[in-house]
């Protein structure tokens, strides 16, 4: 490797927050590196079906932003690459990154999927919520960027079919991981979230009941390229007659160590319920909730249309879920609207409205402080919500706490502004330092420029 590549900004994570921050910075003329650990950019949003409150398809919003990043002259995208550490070196940051082997030459691959069709190995597809299948040689999903195949070495039998099928000799089975470094003046951490674990609560079946789903699995069932092409029960393919949502299944619960509200679960449950009543017109849909938190713009109106569509909202605390012989699920609920009276109801399918956990432990890798909730600490939450405890590292999206897509995208724009001003300040400071003799800085703004090294 010759010289260490230098950028104005390093954006960590290519979910919707990272994509937006990268585009906003690049549009201002800054050189941006965006590093994504998954084989495609797009993050969690690209796997969603439709999004509240407009019911636009998630792809319709995400894929154009992905495409804009991919072809922006000021953005360099590194996928399947992990940031190992970020450290300060003088007036900039140095990131050590690890590019994992795809076993496919990115330059040579034309995305024809011939290797995928040739591959005889089928395994569980994480992208499809572990409900569908993919091959060991694969392109992660139809709208992935880059449209470059990769080979899952843990499941590869080394049969060589992909090598023989590839029309451009792009398969490189002896590729190795590569650790390298890049430099950037500012960093935007857009490291996202992960779901609270589905098995956390033994009284909800501990993750062992087949027809108790994660909300992201239901997103895949509702999505156009979903694993089954329609909504059916994963246990046996039955078209469900009744579907229930258990709200706050992973949030507002001290016993799980997640005392906060995850902000999105009420709305995604309502949205999924509305989509379900479209795809399963005769099914009964029930949402068991403590408080409906429809607080965003147009959300209360959305909630009301769900009520008008006949979705049943039951104020109650779900105490237990049990699997029946016919693989339906019995929900035992304490009705908070009826003195806590206990009621039991059967549903074909139950979705746990799980909450959000930080996607990444930023303490070890980036030396950022986190708050009690585990998310990146923002010491100036009211007037500078994207600042972190390290000057020059900014945070965008769910890395600093649960957030919906609208709030995430807005915050990514704010993080881009912070990073942009910081980079300009550093560039100006460097110029001032080199031209120190002729400096005549009297403006009050320049007086307050602080350069921390």
């Amino acid at each position: 490797m010759s010289e260490t590549p230098r950028f104005d900004a390093l954006v960590i994570g290519a979910g919707i927050a990272g994509l937006q921050a990268a585009v906003d910075l690049a549009d201002q003329g800054f050189k941006v590196a965006i590093v994504e650990r998954d084989p495609s950019i797009g993050g969690a949003m690209i796997a969603l079906s439709k999004v509240f409150p407009t019911l636009d398809c998630a792809s319709c919003i995400t894929t154009p932003k992905m495409a804009a990043v991919a072809r922006h002259p000021n953005i360099t995208t590194f996928t399947y690459t992990e940031v190992l550490s970020v450290g300060r070196a003088g007036d900039r940051f140095v990131a050590s990154v690890l590019s994992k082997p795809r076993y496919v030459d990115e330059e040579a691959c034309i995305g024809c999927r011939k290797c995928e069709y040739a591959c005889p190995v089928e395994v569980v597809d994480e992208f499809d919520g572990r409900l569908g299948a993919r091959r060991a040689a694969y392109i992660p999903f139809t709208t992935a960027i880059p449209q470059t195949a990769l080979i899952d070495a843990d499941n590869c039998t080394l049969c060589g079919a992909c090598v023989r099928a590839c029309p451009t000799d792009a398969v490189v089975l002896d590729q190795r991981p590569r650790e390298w470094q890049l430099e950037a003046t500012a960093v935007v951490a857009a490291t996202g979230w992960k779901l609270t674990p589905v098995g956390a609560k033994p009284q909800y079946g501990g993750g062992e009941i087949t027809n108790v789903l994660e909300p992201t699995q239901m997103e895949r069932l509702l999505a156009p390229h979903g694993p089954y092409g329609r909504v059916i029960r994963p246990s046996d393919g039955k078209i469900p007659e009744s579907v229930a949502y258990v709200q706050c299944a992973g949030s507002r619960d001290q016993t799980l160590g997640v005392s906060y509200c995850s902000r999105v679960c009420c709305m995604y449950a309502i949205k999924q319920a509305m989509l379900l009543s479209g795809s399963l017109p005769i099914a009964d849909i029930t949402i068991y909730y403590m408080d409906i938190r429809a607080f965003g713009k147009g959300y209360e109106e959305f909630y009301r249309s769900a009520q008008a569509m006949g979705i049943e909202f039951v104020k109650g605390k779900v105490a237990r879920l049990t699997e029946n012989d016919d693989q339906s699920v019995t929900v035992r609920v304490e009705r908070l609207d009826q003195f806590g009276q206990v009621e039991e109801r059967r549903h074909d399918l139950v979705v746990l409205s799980l909450g959000m956990l930080p996607g990444e432990d930023v303490r070890q890798r980036f030396d950022l402080e986190v708050a009690e909730d585990g998310f990146v600490m923002t010491p100036q939450p009211k007037d500078a919500p994207c600042r972190t405890t390290v000057d020059g590292i900014f945070v965008a999206g769910t890395a600093s706490g649960p957030k919906d897509i609208v709030d995430t995208i807005v915050e990514a724009g704010a993080a881009a502004t912070e990073a942009s001003l910081y980079i300009s300040k550093m560039i100006a400071a460097a110029e001032t330092a080199t031209a120190a003799s002729s400096a005549d800085v009297t403006s009050p703004a320049a007086d307050r420029v602080e350069v921390k090294v």
Binding site: M66, R293, G298, E300, E301, D373, K382, D383, E418
Partner: protein, 636 residues
């Protein structure tokens, strides 16, 4: 069109991931399109806007198969620009593109599969007919004024002004009152970190006042606004006593002020800024700006007379009133209001928010406030915690619908208030609590009665000495700006962004950005985040000094124009169309930057001398002919 060979039109029909294909059949539409005159290829894709979808089009252009493109997909609002740039990147003029909307206009509007497919075919046929008559166009390039105007100096406006100035952009910051800080100045401590509102505002004001790129106008309101992206003109009226803090004022005076709790940061207070101070007269100020950031904020909802006893019973106050009252209470001291000791306080949520048709009185425009005001739940809980801390003996009753303590650190207030002994009563929006004066002899002053949703709808009654109404947010009156720039407003009366996810801080009028609660209820964190996001957009807009506008403007055929001037009379955009003398003859000419391409002039021209580029009469006729053509028999 004589010089052109026959057009080679590519038609690309999008499934939109089921949004379209669940109702209309893209494959049938594509087959139909392939039989239309001039169509060279017709293809389909699950997501035409995705990279693989765009590549289909790019490959056809590169292969020379196609020189005009029709995409049948969602609304052009979403992705017309996406597809135009595909043409541009592949060496075609971007205006040789026509967008057919078969989602909003077809699949979302009908459920009949056969009809939807047939209607999609008609719309595609019309688009193809127009595409065959498209001409290459060049965007209109205009110079931009290297200055941004920020309207409103609440926290959002202050933050936006500071960001823009630090990016090197000249900023005019316009505030209608005498104070900076907006509604946040009417608070004491802010959730979730209990930071003092005064300190927060002081920090922002300090940066704004010391940045010489910012010119501040106080007591200034907007009379009129005009112009277009890159070149807006704002006509302000500054009241007597209004201050201008500009470079000159900064040099001459010590332009400081002071923060007054519950009023805001008063500029030019203590006679320190006489240099910039306006005299006794109102005066007019004109500001030129390349971009506008509207940060005009909100007003607290004012309950109608008698709503929950407001203005009928002296013991009924709003949450901002209560916060101000509590700010003056020393810990451990006795709580008093109106000269009486307070032993119990009731709080009612959702006052002016989450209203129900037929239950709540409509607003002036006849609409109810259906929306949630987002901050009142946590603000109320924070006020309860403050009360419990300072006056531990006081009983608290909280009447709510749903507790929406959604944000970071919000839930903690709920827990604390519950642990502190607050009694929560849940009401339904359709049956709000009834408030009455307590009967004589009753120990309390006010009674609140309501069906409790937590106890099977049991009727509960609480006597309280003070009743606090958690009033929601309503947008500030920005009607002059809205009317003169034709800004879009939602059914909730707040400013309406282009799209909540694609362009969340931009209004449909190019160059006008929105920040803070003028767009909808927001807390301080969210307001400053939108302000910085809006600043990012303005920075991009103004960075190059020039801007490209769509060329869809009126063009006058000077051979045909006879100078009747009807078009000038009809034109609603001052300066867009004028009559001039040309070689002794009167002719209409168009100022392309001011013309919006509305077409009103086209309709009134007696000699058919005017057309709108990209939307010519010839193109319309071709579209109408295609729409009215007999449906063709398509063999599968």
């Amino acid at each position: 069109m004589a010089e052109d060979a026959a057009p080679k039109i590519g038609v690309y029909v999008c499934h939109c991931g089921g949004n379209i294909s669940d109702i209309a059949d893209p494959e049938t539409v594509a087959r139909f399109a392939s039989g239309l005159p001039g169509v060279a290829v017709a293809r389909t894709n699950m997501f035409m806007c995705s990279d693989p979808g765009q590549k289909l089009i790019a490959d056809d252009i590169q292969a020379g198969l196609v020189d005009r493109v029709v995409v049948a997909a969602c609304s052009p609002k979403l992705h017309e620009l996406t597809f135009r740039s595909v043409l541009q990147r592949n060496g075609l003029n971007p205006y040789l593109y026509e967008h057919a909307n078969i989602r909003e206009q077809v699949s979302w509007a009908t459920s009949d599969h056969a009809e939807a497919t047939a209607k999609s075919e008609s719309i595609v046929a019309a688009a193809v007919a127009k595409a065959g008559r498209l001409q290459p166009l060049d965007p209109i390039v205009v110079e931009t004024t290297p200055c941004a105007a920020v309207l409103g100096a609440g926290v959002a406006g202050l933050r936006a002004a500071r960001d823009l100035a630090q990016a090197g952009i000249e900023v005019a910051l316009v505030e209608k009152t005498a104070a900076l800080g907006g509604n946040v100045a009417k608070l004491d401590r802010l959730f979730p970190n209990q930071e003092s509102a005064g300190e927060l505002i002081g920090r922002l004001v300090d940066e704004v006042l010391h940045d010489e790129r910012i010119t501040l106008y106080t007591l200034a309101s907007i009379d009129r606004a005009e112009g277009y992206v890159g070149n807006f003109t704002l006509h302000l009226r500054q009241k007597a006593g209004g201050v201008v803090v500009d470079r000159a004022a900064r040099l001459n005076g010590r332009t400081i002020g002071a923060y007054r709790p519950f009023e805001g940061f008063m500029i030019g207070d203590h006679g320190a800024a006489e240099e910039g101070q306006n005299g006794d007269d109102e005066r007019a100020v004109v500001i030129e700006a390349g971009a506008l950031v509207v940060a005009t904020g909100f007003e607290h909802y004012t309950p109608t007379k008698g709503e929950y006893g407001y203005e009928r019973l002296p013991q009924v106050v709003t949450l901002p009133d209560f916060i101000e009252l509590m700010a003056g209470v020393e810990p451990g001291s006795r709580l008093e209001h109106d000269g009486r000791p307070i032993k119990s306080v009731g709080f009612i949520h959702c006052v002016g928010s989450r209203q129900v048709e037929g239950v709540n009185k409509p607003q002036a425009d006849g609409e109810i406030n259906e929306y949630c005001s987002r901050v009142c739940c946590t603000a109320t809980l924070a006020a309860i915690c403050d009360l419990q801390e300072k006056c531990p003996g006081v009983a608290v009753y909280d009447f709510y619908q749903d507790i929406r303590a959604y944000g970071r650190g919000h839930e903690e207030y709920y827990e604390k208030a519950s642990k502190g002994g607050a009694v929560f009563v849940r009401f339904a929006g359709a049956e709000p609590p009834a408030v009455a004066k307590a009967p004589a002899g009753d120990p309390c002053l006010v009674t609140v009665r309501c069906k409790d949703g937590l106890t099977w709808g049991e009727e509960v009654e609480a006597g309280v000495d003070l009743l606090v109404l958690a009033v929601g947010m309503t947008p500030s009156d920005v009607s002059t700006l809205v009317d003169s720039l034709k800004l879009p407003v939602g059914t909730d009366r707040f400013l309406l962004e282009v799209h909540p996810k694609l362009r969340p801080v931009e209004l449909a009028v190019n160059g006008v950005l929105v920040a803070g609660a003028s767009q909808g209820p927001k807390d301080v964190t969210e307001a400053t985040a939108t302000a910085s996001a809006a600043a990012a957009k303005a920075m991009t807009l103004l960075s190059s000094g020039r801007i490209e506008l769509d060329p869809f403007v009126a063009t006058v055929d000077s051979q045909r124009c006879e100078g009747h001037g009807l078009c000038v009379e009809e034109c609603a955009y001052p300066g867009a169309l004028v009559l001039t003398e040309e070689n002794g003859a009167t002719r209409a000419i168009v100022n392309a930057a001011l013309c919006t391409g509305c077409g009103a002039c086209v309709a009134v021209c007696p000699t058919n001398a005017i057309d709108v580029a990209g939307w010519t009469l010839g193109q319309y006729e071709a579209m109408v002919d295609a729409l009215l053509a007999e449906p063709q028999e398509v063999t599968p």
